[in-house]
Amino acid sequence: MTDSQTAEHPEPRPIPAPDNFPIEWDNPEDSHLPLNQDRQHAPTPLTPLSGWLAQHHWAPGSSVGFAALDQPLMMHIRRINTYYYLAVTPSVPMEQMAEAGKKAEAGLKAALPVFADRWDNEWLPEIRSCHDRWNAFDLPAASDSELLEHLTWTLDTFERFWDIHFEVMIPALVGPSMLLDLYSDLIEDAGPMDAYKLTQGFDNTSLRAGEDLWKLSQTAADSDGVKSILASTPTGDVMSALEKSEDGKKLIAGINSYAQAWGFRSDTVIEIGDPSWVEDPSIVIDTVKAYLRDGSEDPRKNWNEIVAERERIVSETREKISGYPEPVKQQFNGMLHAGQQGHRIQEDHSWWIDQQANHQVRKVFLEFGNRLASAGVISERDDVFMLTGDEIIESAKSGFTGDFKSAASERRAEMEKWAEIPAAPHIGTDYGPPPDNPVSRALGRFFGWGPPRDSDGPSDLISGTPGSSGKVTGTARVIIKLSDAGRLNKGDILVTATTSPPWTPLFATAGGIVTDTGGALSHCAIVAREYGIPATVGAAGATFAIKDGDRIEVDGDAGTVRIL
């Protein structure tokens, strides 16, 4: 073997586990996986049921999606010490990789021009019809066997959703990522965030959910009585206080209809143990309270400028390459389309797949929770999330028998124990850096993978990735759970582990965003650009280094945060 071959395929190296994070592998084979903690999708300990669902249904569905695009990749999910880990491995032996790589390139090339049309005309209609079926199913009325049958269909459908998820999301991520590469090759004097402006200003479900919530707050703003209730009543008592007046009833109706329209979502997109907003509208109420308290502005107020800025930079780029060969211009047009559509679909797929499907699966398991609790298998309904799917199915098949009461409380205690210990970011086996290809570059830009950052710099300066242009100074609010977001005041800097789409209505209140995880193509960065607020993403350790109440400065172009 020559030196260059060694450099390409370094010897696999077991990653030593930190002393406070010892690992006992359920299956010793798993220690060969290159597992990364996915803090972007699940920063905190995961319930056993969510872990089971992700490992046995999400990951296999994802691998089907990769295969449909001829990508020689497999997805693995593991719940290790209650944390959520993800590994992407080759699906073919190394010696077939060159051939598989060519096929993968052709598969991507074929997918890039059509993925947006397929999403609109093929996949989204399929997804909608599945949601219709879920919504029409009368869970409490179902017999035990009907419920089990419904669960089988639910899990199959969930798996199919994750197949669609990756079939659409690989091109939807690669398109914007290739556009960035193309733009930086074409425009030598490009600013770091210029290329992202090419894709901004397209409507998506994250923006509409935020806009509708702000509009709801404005209906409350018209009534002084309602405003004073919201200002002085603890969130949990707001609904009963509102019942007492006509204006209050109107707002209740508004909150309920918002929850019906957008409430099939919770904090993150992997955990199904958290209540969705339709079950508990506290987050809706907290956000409305924050909007009213600080006199927030219409999240769309800058929309026309954001769109105009995009059009300006698109035509400026076209002008700059007007003397270039036609194939280059065609590449630009093709990638521009793929990039713009990719951004829209990145938010929309999350709403239709990640958020709503989680809610649907949660609802089905809650019904199992009701029956397990009435049968005395568990103490209370929500303990169902402390069981694995296999345990639930087995118990249900034998007429809801068995006893998981102590197991449930032990597992809950285990989650609480691990919540205090930071998860090791990488475990299992290290195979060296991933190969440089369009897919791995795109995934890197989404997850915020990259070379280790310089840690020799001054300790008051935290480096991350530029997420959204601009510089802002404000008070840091370190918020890890959305239920804690009521503390965010107008102009505060939201410092958090990750922001999945349900968090984005907070962007109308926040002056800037800092996240521990994610890259320039993450949900957070995309939506921050649409709101026009500065964001530094993937600033590893920010939520530890920055203390709640610190004055900090976010520089979204440099991708840094300074503690003042």
């Binding site: 390139e105 060969p325 194939p327 280059v328």
Partner: protein
């Protein structure tokens, strides 16, 4: 005589217009070439005799008129042109002057064309050209120069093609080098182009080697510039299979037409293939 259009009778006179101009005039019957005109060595001589830096007024007046005609025949106002040197002793069978004299691309307007023509005339006496003539035993003092003014095709892809393999000498192989953009990068050896080998007898493709295609010649407001080929395009073949076959057919046809193995430059713009130059292969062993 000051100048003639390529399709005018007599435009193929090597002694009057130089090698490049004469061969272009002959090509018109065999392939599609961009329209243009050739300025005679007489015009060059009258400039030399004048001893002035300026172009003799009668010559410049005719060039201005010819440029207007070119605007009409090409149906392009301010038609961009290439202005190329065409020395009498260059491009003759046996010698190749490739790139020794000046060439100006994307020249727009009659006055800039006149300036470019004067620069071409001056390049007859540049040191490289003199050294080359001396080394090849050609006359230096009596060398004379024509100039070609030709509509510039904004090539999407440029190619150099040989009706025989110029390296191995294999007469059964057509070899094509191709890369994105105008031809300068390919002809000037600034890039590693794609290499396609095609079997002459049945035009089947023998091999395609993707080159690194590091840079491409692009148009600027009043000239050209070298820009990097975007990374995502370097691995893509510059020519489609059909385009490569069309080029192979053309070189085979030109070899038959001329009676000697040829080396051509061509350009693809939109769906159209243009022949820009055709010379004998000078490196082939007899």
């Amino acid at each position: 005589m000051t100048l003639l259009f390529f399709d005018d009778p007599g435009a193929d006179d090597v002694l009057l217009f130089g090698g490049k101009a004469a061969s272009l005039a002959k090509l018109g019957s065999a392939a599609r070439i961009p329209p243009g005109f050739s300025i005679s060595v007489d015009s060059y001589s009258s400039w030399v005799d004048d001893g002035s830096d300026q172009m003799p007024p009668d010559v410049s007046a005719e060039i201005k008129e010819a440029y207007k005609v070119l605007e009409r025949t090409s149906a392009v106002i301010d038609v961009p042109v290439a202005v190329r040197s065409s020395a009498v002793d260059e491009d003759g069978i046996g010698e190749s002057f490739a790139g020794l004299h000046d060439t100006f691309l994307n020249v727009i307007g009659a006055d800039p064309v006149i300036e470019a023509v004067i620069k071409c005339w001056r390049s007859l006496s540049n040191q490289h050209a003199i050294d080359y003539r001396v080394a090849n035993g050609l006359e230096v003092e009596s060398a004379r120069m024509g100039v070609v003014v030709q509509q510039l095709v904004f090539a999407d892809v440029s190619a150099v093609a040989f009706s025989a393999n110029p390296i191995s000498g294999n007469r059964e192989e057509v070899v094509i080098n191709a890369s994105f953009g105008l031809g300068e990068a390919v002809v000037g050896g600034l890039v590693t182009p794609d290499t396609i080998v095609i079997k002459r007898s049945d035009l089947s493709r023998q091999s395609l080697t993707i080159g690194a295609k590091e840079s491409m010649t692009v148009r600027t407001e009043n000239g050209t510039d070298e820009k990097p080929v975007p990374r995502i395009m370097r691995g893509m073949p510059a020519l489609s299979e059909d385009q490569a076959t069309e080029i192979a057919e053309l070189v085979v046809k030109l070899e038959k037409h001329n009676g000697w193995p040829v080396d051509i430059e061509c350009a693809i713009h939109g769906s159209q293939l243009y022949l820009l130059q055709c010379r004998p292969i000078t490196t082939l062993s007899q």
